[in-house]
Symmetry: C2
Subunit: 407 residues, 2 copies
């Protein structure tokens, strides 16, 4: 291992970072090397590096993701916003206030204040660009990435336009939700007049991990989720399945697929354990495939019981498995959500699916077409929001996020 | 101090409690004695005790509160539900599954599973009864508590009926939101067919504490909140301001006032620091009164600057102070919330105000009348949900919650 490229201990952290030891290091690098665990979870991540943070970074516990409409058609105003967002994100990820001036009486503070005294909580802030940004407003039509397509309608989609799409997105992940919310809120503040929030989604529990040193989290079906998830130390696979490498402005970046998947948990909860395990293809307690073995053992899709294959070919594990999808593997970073209840008195709950892929045409559309058409699980889920963003590559010091797009 | 009345170490915890050391003790008692900190935060609370938990219990970081409509008019079905809820709550608070049978194939599991492997995270579950429960359905009309009034309309109220009222409420607080959500979701599951969720609210960051050994949390205005909050060790004041002592079935209980207070954070964020501090009456950084001193020093409402009193008489601290409210003190347990964004592209964010009071007629209506009519802060807030619940006293082993109401 070439090891952690630590950039040394930062000295003073300012008001917001009191008590947090800050270790800045190139996140893409450090995480890909796979040994951050040996140094314990780093208290802060550095915004700048080979890739954006919040992708292969070890998944934090909480999420606030916001999608924005740009209100101006002034290209320079958009660039100015991205420049200001980059600077503020770097400060907040280091555990400092979003801006320098928080105590001058006759102007609004450069930080809203609710994270003062809280540690940085492994905050990462990740930016993406939606397809609508590449219309005729900003002269970007010729630079639309090939993979930034309109996703097709999938069976079972019941998409709410007010929870879908957007020109820009900001994904803030942290172990403390107040820190994630603070980050989004300050970027909203900085963007006042230039952008408006189109929709935003909080997630309270991660459903996938990108490291091996923790147990697999559970989704609201009560099952372990993301057992097969691509891990941060699988370097060749990350290049194949996550990063864009096409020589374009997006090189070193990725695509973020965001799907709000409502689960009808009340209905699920009334199914027998047998039905639940049949649908998933794994045992509920341990997460082992129904063909036997342990959680991380490969399912045997051929092995028959008295009543056909032990792992049903339309079970979720069978349809989502790389062997059924031309070897495609996903790096997922989804979160459980509960947004109160709906008019029927059912919990408005489910999985906010987030996956970073090298190309949604090869890495999302085929798999979701297969799943939405056949998966036994479809009876218990409904997709209510959808968005796709091109996520620029890493930010070099002195640059702003996505600068190569505007060059 | 008479000390912690520990009831000894529980032995086996079952699947959900693996790794958590469980110390069961009478929560009302232990917390009122004020020295739980000396033993570290207890990993589990006991449902049974002199008072319900989740009131003076040290405030956990996360909240899920659900309000329910009862669907039946069968008194025995309601009692059966309360009995089943009590049993399940005791299990979950101890870090165990909600019910005993989680692995029989041909029936639905007695626990939904998403908290398996998570520690109990100081979970407390608190039950309350709304005024509508005392209509003619269950023969309870004659037992309506005197304080369970219809709250009046206050200036600035913009209440959404779909976020207000309810026959029953369940407040689940825990340091891990997945644990709080799991608790509510399993009570929903158990109540299927008997109750439906009317509304539910998640809170991601506490805004008040009931102990002295931590720093005061901040609300979404970025200010420390609840500096004056009633603390769990102020025994005579708890009897005066929190507990009901009227010889009725509600004796040993309390009233829970729940108000969903939206904050127009984008507007607030554009105000000068001077305006923000003027509205609150405290400094933003330290929380000290504008009359000087430190956070916990009493404000001096008489001290004049060059431009009148340093603490404006219509500032929030002045209007909410006990000296302006016949000595009334509040035990608050509120939480910050963000529920996405609204149709205007503003964050749907604010404070979910929770206060436990001995009588809302003396301890909420007068103070909210004064605040909503005069408080400078009213320009930046709007109440969008409201509920009031009678919270029964502690549950003795073998009883179900509220049993004395039905006796």
């Amino acid at each position: 291992m070439s090891g952690l490229s630590r950039r040394g201990l930062l000295g003073s952290l300012g008001a917001a970072g009191a008590g947090a030891a800050a270790i800045g290091f190139g996140t893409g690098r450090a995480v890909q090397d796979g040994d951050p665990a040996s140094a314990g979870p780093p208290p802060t991540f550095d915004l700048y590096g080979e890739h954006q943070t919040g992708i292969v970074t070890p998944v934090q516990d909480r999420l606030h993701l916001a999608s924005f409409d740009v209100l101006t058609d002034d290209r320079e105003a958009l660039v100015g916003l991205l420049r200001a967002w980059t600077a503020a994100a770097a400060e907040m990820m280091a555990g400092r206030p979003a801006g320098p001036d928080t105590s001058t009486y006759d102007r609004p503070p450069d930080d809203t204040g609710e994270a003062v005294g809280l540690p940085s909580s492994r905050l990462t802030i990740t930016f993406g660009f939606g397809r609508s940004l590449f219309d005729d407003r900003f002269g970007l039509a010729g630079r639309l990435p090939a993979g930034l397509v309109d996703l097709p309608h999938f069976p079972g989609d019941n998409l709410d336009p007010a929870r879908s799409g957007g020109d820009l997105c900001v994904q803030a992940c942290a172990d403390d939700p107040q820190v994630a919310v603070h980050a989004v809120r300050n970027l909203v503040r900085i963007g006042f007049g230039t952008v408006a929030v189109r929709w935003s989604q909080l997630g309270f529990g991660k459903t996938s991990s990108t490291t091996r040193d923790e147990q697999t989290p559970r989704n609201l079906f009560g099952f372990k989720d993301g057992t097969m998830n691509l891990k941060a130390d699988e370097q060749p696979d990350l290049d194949e399945h996550v990063w864009v490498d096409d020589g374009s402005w997006l090189a070193g970046g990725s695509y973020l697929v965001a799907r709000r998947i409502n689960m009808t948990v009340e209905t699920w909860d009334r199914q027998t354990l047998q039905e639940q395990e049949h649908v998933i293809g794994r045992t509920k307690t341990t997460g082992a495939p129904l063909s036997g073995g342990r959680e991380h053992d490969d399912p045997d899709f051929v092995l028959e019981g008295s009543d056909g294959p032990l792992v049903h070919p339309d079970s979720h594990v069978a349809l989502a498995h790389p062997s059924a999808n031309a070897g495609v593997r996903l790096l997922r970073r989804g979160y459980n959500f509960v947004d109160g209840s709906n008019a029927l008195g059912r919990l408005d709950a489910g999985l906010f699916f987030l996956a970073y892929v090298t190309d949604p045409r090869s890495h999302y559309i085929p798999i979701q077409t297969s799943i939405s058409g056949n998966d036994l699980m479809q009876e218990y889920v409904q997709h209510t929001g959808s968005a796709l963003f091109a996520v620029p590559g890493g930010i070099a010091r002195g640059e702003y996020v996505g600068q190569r797009l505007f060059a």
